[in-house]
Every structure is written in structure tokens, then in C-alpha cells.
Symmetry: C2
Subunit: 349 residues, 2 copies
């Protein structure tokens, strides 16, 4: 069932997953297309972003954001077009970045919307390299990581939407950059296309040994977005005064219980002390919203100059979004994963 | 055997402790008083500082500083007087802050010495409130902790040399301050003398519940210098964007193995992420040596105005230094623990 102008499809959270999400945790529902009230716009979804943080919203464990309620649509960033407007600042046909979630249509009073103009060159980029993931990588690396020329930066999930930006920006700042990614194809992409100095396959044996050999000068910045075995390999290689921006922990998102002991919490504390590490968590639009304009201008310039490469992995159709997210959490995507929900131009239906 | 002008007593590391240090890990040796060569001064120890970090130097586990070698004198900060000088900048009788360790006499070429003048008012304060511990508390709180008026600051080892400064400075900055200390006497001192808003006895039952009730607004800054059960109680109460300066982990210094599981390393990482915490380790004279003058001037002023209280716990005689350190690691001190090694004035012997 493709997008139509008569029906609003939406994918709701059917059940809270235990561990890895399953198809049965999602449900496709249909309903009427909502009508914009006074001061509201009607938005039609063209692209939906799929991101690892969405796994967190499916759980009711305490986190930095409210969970999705069972029976409610999944949340998510979207690139949309204005279909109808009772809002003085929005005209039909405009492209708008929104948070309208896993559905065809949504109404908005304008809060939190970002205008992309009448004819943006790459509208979907605002979900990736120019949006939340790119902003996360850029600001986390530069503001918390503070990389200096000649330092060694290690990036996990290096072929992902965040990691690809971190590594390329670190290269631009004169760092040695080692990526970690899952499988030889991704590693080849990271080195050949993105220009990292090296990339290690975390699925191959002896990651700790290979990483140690790849960073003979130790690690000055580790951009943390996966956790787990990669962090375990990184920790003993961190240099004194290393910086660890923490923006995600994808390896743990499906965990159902704490791993068995020994309890290494004290070991981590001891390492923070003896190596004088700085570890800092951040949620990009909470901590840095006021710097989005500065980022966007810089990043648009770098893309235009060909200094930042970007690749999308497009899932076709809203009905395939659940499978798309499940696969993303397993690392099966090649580049920033987005869903093509509807056509650029409104269909005649 | 008191200090004499003819013999140099020194306490050496006899064996590396396994767990808690024992008397047998130390040995008192005697030898000749060293003679200063060209450009050197002979220093006589008046006070020796005892500090928790010394436990770390007794081990050969990797740390931020070289371990003491077995058979060599224990390291430590000292307040000394110049007994003889072949150095143009030092005159006999001057008071000097040094790192001459657990012994009566040492020679120095001047490296790392700090002059305290001919007649300092409280020479021993340079080992405590005006020295490494005070500087640690002051700079760690203000530079890493960044406390704002109205925020809640929690300080462990609140009656100790570092904790007492942290809490008093936080009060001066308009914070609500909750201390944690071992036993009712220390807690009374922390509230009645040091002026903390509250102090919790970590030896009494249900620290997590009592702490939660003491910080109804959550915790914005936790000054970490003990680790272990106190940190476990603090972690769930940290507010979003809380800051955790880490300057010590006294509870773990005697640990011989990692605690049993579950492994909470991933839990800590998750908390850093979801609460956007900043945790940062620091070793005061590594990270902040260039700001010692600024600190000293500010702190001398605050002491003079009576806004900072300070208490010393004096152990008498170098031969009692081992017992003094063993007790310090158990928290039996009341205030900054120092050893009176020799008299202010050189004896006639």
C-alpha cells in the first residue's frame, strides 16, 4: 500500500520489546488524514530517519526522553512537505524538517520545525550529514573531543551516519583516524571512500591486539557510540588526558540484563582517575541546539567542496520501517539509513 | 629515637602490600646525614604529610606516577628547614615545602621546592589546606565541578583534608552541601564546624535511602574521592548534566581483586549517556600547577577572614608514620593527618 492522499498510515508500538525488537512489536494502522486547525500546517512525510536511539524510546527504562507509549506512533525525524497551511509562515509545497514520526501525515503548530526551502538540493541530507547524526558527530568531536593535529582519534561504527562524520572531520583537523566497523565491505568504504587512515573489522578475531597495533601512540580521542567489546578494547589504550564523548551505546540497546561479573565499574573509575580522562555524555539537540546554524553552514561548505563524503541506505516504503530499524541495530546498513515514505511530489491519488 | 643532627632515619618500603598495608611492609633504617654538594641544600624534615595516594605508590600496578621501589624511602610532601646551603637562593633556617619523603634529611638542587619564608605563620598548612589537598578540593570543585548557586553538591570523605575544602568552598558559592563521613563525631564536625548543610554517616544503615532524602533536588556536583558504596548511592541521584570531578578512590586502594558481578561498566556508560554526565579525573599538580599561585592567594584570604576552617590530626614521630598511614586508609583520622618528624627549631644534639 503506497502513500495516498486519503489515508494516514502509521506504525505504532505494539509491544515493548524484550531484547532485540521483533516484527510483532510494531503494528501498521490506518486512519483518516488529520485536518490542520487554525494556526496549524498539515505535513506529508517524504523521508523518515531510522536511528539507533529509537530502540531506547521503545523501552520504559528511565532515559533522557519519554518512552513511546504502547499504541502510539513511533517517534522519528522526518523530511516533509507542507500539504495545507493555516499558519502564516508556511506555504503549501515547502520542504520542512520535522519530528512527525512513523506516519504519512501529521499536523503541527510550527513548534520545532525547520524550513528547508522550496527546492532543497538534497532534502534527505537533513536527516543525516546535515541533521542530527552529522551534528552529533561534528559537535561531539570538536567541542568535547577537542582533537589536536597529530593526535590519534578512534571512531566506532565508522561507516555509520555519526562515525563517518567524526572521522572525516578529525582528518580535516590533522588527526590520525582509525575506524572500527563490522565487516570487510564497510571497512573498505571507510578507508577508500571516507579517507580514514585505517579501519578494523570488529567481527574478525583479536580486536584488542589489532587495535593496539593500529594506535602505537595510544588513543587521544575515542568517540563512543557503540560500547561493549569495542570500548573494552579501547580503554587500556587511552592516553593520559584522553577525551571520550559519549553519544550512544548501540551494542547495549538490546541488552536485557547486566553482563556477568567481575564488576568493572571500579576499574573504569580507577582508569578515569589515573589517566585523568574526561568522559562526557551529550544529546545533541539538548546540549547544542543553539549551535545548529553554525554547524549547518560549516558542513554545507565542506560537502560542497567535496571534503565530506556521505552515503545513504534507503529503505523503500513505510511498511518496511520496522525491518529497517531491526536491521540497523544489527549493523546491516551501509550508510545513513532512511525510509522513503512517499514521493517528492504529491501523487494524483 | 627522636630526630638528631647525626643520624638520618628513613622509612623504606620493605614489601609491596597485598590489600591493606601492614607494619611489616615498612622498615625503619638509619644512615648518615647526607652532605649537600655544590649548588645543593640540606633539608631537615619538620612535618611529613600522610595522604591516601601513598597507598598507590606502594603498588606496582600502572598508575599516573612511578611506584616506590622496594628498599627505597616512601615518598611524601614535607615541610622542611634549610640546614645548610650551597645554593645561592637558599639561606639556612628558611622554611621550604619539599617532596623529600619519609626521612629526616634530604639534599636537593632546588627543583620543585617552594619557599615558605623565614617565619611562616602555619608552616604545616602548606601540606593541607594551602597545599596539595586544599588545591585539589578548590580547583577540582571550581574548574571541573562548575558549581552554581542553588545547586546541590555532595562530598564524600567530608571531614578529610580535601572534602572539607570542597564543601566549604561550595557553601561560599551558594550551594546546598551534603557531606558523607564515617561516624557521628566526624559528621558533627562537618555540620557544626565546617558549616555543611547536612552530613550522612556512611557506617549507618541505608546510605542510599538517607542520601535520597537529603537531596530532594538531586545532585549537581559529586566530588569523588572515595568510590565504592558511596558512589553506588550517588549514581542514581545525579541530575542531568551533573559534573563528577574524580580525584581519588580511597575505598578501592586496598582492593586485591575486582568485585564480583554483575558487571556494571555498561550501566555507568549508559548513565553517562542518558544523564549527559561529565566525569573527569585530575591529578592536581599535573593539570593545574600553573594555577597554584592564584589558589594560594585566594585560600590565604579566606582563612584570614575565618571563612575556611581547618583541622590537623598530628601523629608524633617519624617511627609512627606507617601506623598513621594505615589508619588514614581506614578513615581513623580527624582532619588532615600529618607527622611531626622533628621540632621547629633544630635541637642542640
Amino acid at each position: 500500500m503506497p502513500q495516498s492522499s486519503l489515508i494516514n498510515r502509521r506504525i505504532v508500538l505494539a509491544a515493548r520489546p524484550h531484547g532485540e525488537p521483533a516484527d510483532s512489536d510494531f503494528r501498521l494502522e490506518t486512519g483518516e488524514v488529520p485536518q490542520p486547525g487554525p494556526g496549524q500546517v498539515l505535513l506529508r512525510t517524504v523521508y523518515l530517519s531510522l536511528d539507533p536511539y529509537m530502540r531506547g524510546r521503545m523501552s520504559d527504562a528511565p532515559s533522557y526522553a519519554e518512552p513511546v507509549q504502547v499504541g502510539q506512533p513511533m517517534v522519528g525525524g522526518t523530511v516533509t512537505r507542507v500539504e495545507a497551511s493555516n499558519h502564516p509562515q508556511y506555504q503549501p509545497g515547502e520542504w520542512v524538517l520535522a519530528q512527525s514520526g512513523w506516519q504519512d501525515y501529521a499536523v503541527s503548530d510550527g513548534t520545532g520545525l525547520v524550513r528547508l526551502g522550496a527546492n532543497p538540493q538534497h532534502p534527505s541530507y537533513s536527516l543525516g550529514v546535515l541533521g542530527m547524526p552529522g551534528f552529533t558527530g561534528y559537535m561531539g568531536l570538536l567541542d568535547i573531543g577537542q582533537p589536536k593535529a597529530g593526535e590519534t582519534v578512534v571512531v566506532a561504527a565508522a561507516s555509520g551516519a555519526v562515525g563517518a562524520v567524526v572521522g572525516q572531520i578529525a582528518k580535516i583537523h590533522g588527526c590520525k583516524v582509525v575506524g572500527i566497523a563490522g565487516g570487510p565491505d564497510k571497512c573498505r568504504y571507510v578507508v577508500d571512500e571516507l579517507g580514514f587512515d585505517e579501519c578494523l573489522d570488529h567481527k574478525a578475531p583479536d580486536l584488542p591486539g589489532r587495535l593496539a597495533r593500529a594506535v602505537p601512540q595510544g588513543i587521544d580521542v575515542y568517540f563512543e557510540n557503540v560500547g561493549g567489546a569495542v570500548f573494552d578494547a579501547v580503554l587500556p589504550l587511552l592516553n593520559p588526558r584522553a577525551r571520550v564523548p559519549v553519544c550512544g551505546l548501540i551494542s547495549a540497546y538490546n541488552a536485557t540484563s547486566q553482563p556477568e561479573g567481575p564488576d568493572r565499574l571500579a576499574l573504569l573509575m580507577r582508569t578515569i582517575l589515573t589517566k585523568r580522562l574526561k568522559m562526557q555524555g551529550f544529546i545533541i539537540f539538548n546540549e547544542y541546539a543553539h549551535r545548529y546554524g553554525e554547524f549547518r553552514e560549516a558542513m554545507e561548505g565542506l560537502i560542497k567542496e567535496g571534503r565530506i563524503k556521505y552515503r545513504e541506505d534507503v529503505v523503500d516504503g513505510l511498511e518496511n520501517a520496522p525491518r529497517g530499524l531491526i536491521g540497523l541495530l544489527k549493523g546491516e546498513n551501509a550508510g545513513k539509513r532512511i525510509v522513503r515514505v512517499g514521493p517528492d511530489e504529491r501523487s494524483a491519488t
